[in-house]
Symmetry: C2
Subunit: 424 residues, 2 copies
């Protein structure tokens, strides 16, 4: 069965409870990222350019537009801070392509939140399937898998929401094959998050247009002269998920800094030690990170985001790392942090993977404590919820975070979009 | 100088008169194709789905939408019949990507027609430059150059209309690198013309968004991890046009049938012989066409479009081949045509190119006449005008064709878009 046939079949399956529960956590996390993204002034003019008409679908910041425009804006804004979820097999950020399409279309169609969550779960799972099918070569040559594989996931989710029949679902995926795009040359520019927005819009448009009778290739993804053939796709073997869905291994970011620091910060989170008692700290990390995020004496907030020593000292002294504002120029100049930082040594260790960190704390008493963390370690839904709630508290403040949390675990879709209004 | 730097520089040059004159012919031809495309009922629902708000930009059929939507609709409709212009070096149809973007944006900005024509000329020339730069490999692997190279041309034309500065023009081309798309898997479906519409919309959006402050890769087209590297681009050497612009060798279709018949039909156009005096006809053509358009006894109008013998007999008996309705089921059954068809022999000839046809007419008197035509033969602007006016007469009827002609050679852009209203 070709990947296209698999996707067409998969789009209508029942969604397991645990998968849907994970999707709700990602919805909570995604919306918080989007609300904060809307506060970035550099995107204001671009968003303004999309407001060509009022519509039913709310965007971060508070306006309401047509579904396709809203998907474009929300995909872009929610990826603006690069603080949204990741899936390592997909090689991309699944929620920022799928959720904007689903939420915009669901609000337009007045779909219950539970059905929207199911559609989004199908979309995220499909994104990962297509990402795996396209493979690492597709990513290495320069395609932005978040956007390319993500567009197919968004399309399938939108097709499910619209209740397209089999032939229409094939056409929707076929149309997506002519629209899915996005290159990694954009990394470091505003067009990186735009890629996610374009993928979300493609999902809405491909499904809506297929419903309107637009036809496309029988197999635009995997067939001759199709997306895979032209876009360096590996056509790796992919199976429909059975018990374990890929969404169960999604990664959420809990720290507003370089991903290379995250394993260390997670390990230090369990330290529970009086910083005054610390004599020396040795941090071991994978060699690849040494040139990425090992600035020994950062001078600005931005540099702190790429500094093992400074971020470690921050955490041990009880400073949060979840808020966008955590990494300020002030914190870079903090004397207590700088003093503690002097006791830290960072070394590379080839025996570790890129997602692992190993820390040795030597107390003044001579006692030695070892802390380690692997970002790939599964965590329970409850533990993940607690960490995400703490992150969103830091981003939005407790009142707004609580309202968003209740909305995300509720049944009323409008309660979620009511939270999209901007923050100051 | 990289292709991107060349394009940025090229976008503001003065347009030679002859190039602009050719562009006006293509505008005339393109609008006629679009007006007829809007009469195709299968696209009605898709077009309806784009009408999300009134706007300043007219689409074929009569509605007026926002510039991006109008570009999408008009690009799609004008390529629906595959009767629009072609450029063999571009490997694509230049006008259907560039003109919808230019006309929609120019109407929105209230630009004089002369400036719109200049911008379109720049866009078509840039499309050919990018097409040549991407090369044949890009096309062979499965990319639809009309849409991919066309999007860059449309973007540059839109950037000129908006008066973007150098940095913005670079960002516009960079944004285009994440949006230009379209695969050949769509050939034979409605998504083939849609590819042209998407390219036109990309042109409008990339330029408008760059103006709104959206940033993108420094060189999204030719730089690392950019469009060329990811999309099998050859990065062939390209020079800025000096005296001879590529637009001077654009091809217009004068017959509403398979391109393989065109050289023969042009050759027969000069026959000027009483069909009753004909004893035998031998048609020589390139071998590649023998399996494409040599149906010896067509039964339907569609089959006549792929029949050397029938189409030749039609022409010799004075039937037109320029109207969409020329190729009817009735004409397939016409007894006089069938009788003359019996005297025709079609043979392959490896000494001919794909654009050449060689015909030997033997009259009953024993006199032998040889006719030949090469589609690559340059024709004067006047001769081309006459042929295009005859084509558009056949498509729209003389009254509407005359109005469109006067508008296309005039100075009032609204006079052109006034002609977009539908035909019955």
């Amino acid at each position: 069965m070709s990947i296209t046939e698999q996707l067409v079949k998969f789009s209508t399956v029942e969604v397991p409870e645990e998968a849907a529960a994970m999707m709700r956590l990602s919805l909570f996390d995604w919306a918080a990222c989007g609300i904060m993204g809307a506060a970035e002034p550099e995107f204001a003019s671009f968003c303004q350019a999309q407001i060509i008409e009022d519509g039913p679908a709310h965007v971060f910041g508070g306006e309401a537009l047509g579904a396709a425009q809203a998907a474009l804006v929300n995909g872009t804004l929610s990826h603006a801070l690069d603080y949204d979820d990741t899936h390592f097999a997909h090689i991309g950020h699944p929620s920022v392509a799928v959720l904007p399409a689903v939420m915009a279309l669901a609000e337009t169609l007045d779909t219950p939140l539970t059905e929207a969550i199911d559609a989004a779960t199908i979309g995220v799972e499909a994104s990962v399937m297509v990402g795996v099918w396209l493979g690492r070569e597709h990513y290495q040559v320069g395609f932005h898998q978040t956007a390319t594989a993500g567009a197919f996931g968004a399309t399938l989710a939108a097709a499910r929401l619209l209740g397209l029949d089999k032939v229409q679902r094939r056409h929707a995926l076929g149309l997506c094959a002519s629209m899915a795009s996005g290159v990694k040359a954009q990394f470091g520019t505003m067009a990186k998050p735009l890629n996610a927005g374009l993928a979300a819009r493609t999902g809405v448009e491909a499904a809506v247009w297929a419903q309107a009778g637009m036809t496309a290739a029988e197999d635009g993804l995997a067939g001759p002269l199709g997306f895979g053939e032209t876009h360096h796709g590996e056509a790796a073997e992919v199976k429909l998920p059975r018990k374990d869905w890929q969404i169960s291994t999604i990664s959420h970011k809990f720290h507003a800094c370089c991903h290379g620091l995250h394993a260390m910060l997670e390990a230090l989170g369990g330290a529970n030690v009086d910083p005054e008692r610390i004599g020396a700290i040795k941090i071991r990390t994978h060699p690849r990170w040494m040139s990425v995020c090992n600035i020994p004496a950062p001078k600005t907030g931005l540099e702190v985001k790429f500094s093992y020593a400074h971020a470690a000292a921050m955490t041990l002294l009880g400073h949060g790392t979840g808020a966008i504002a955590s990494f300020s120029d002030e914190i870079a100049r903090d004397k207590d942090i700088i003093a503690l930082r002097e006791k830290i040594e960072v070394v590379e260790d080839e025996s570790l993977s890129e997602t692992q960190s190993l820390i040795t704390l030597t107390l003044e008493s001579g006692e030695v404590r070892r802390l380690r963390h692997d970002l790939m370690t599964p965590i329970t839904l409850d533990a993940r919820s607690a960490k995400l709630r703490s992150k969103v508290n830091a981003l939005l403040g407790e009142g707004r975070a609580e309202a968003l949390w209740q909305a995300a675990i509720g049944t009323d879709l409008d309660a979620v979009t009511d939270c999209f209004a901007g923050v100051e």
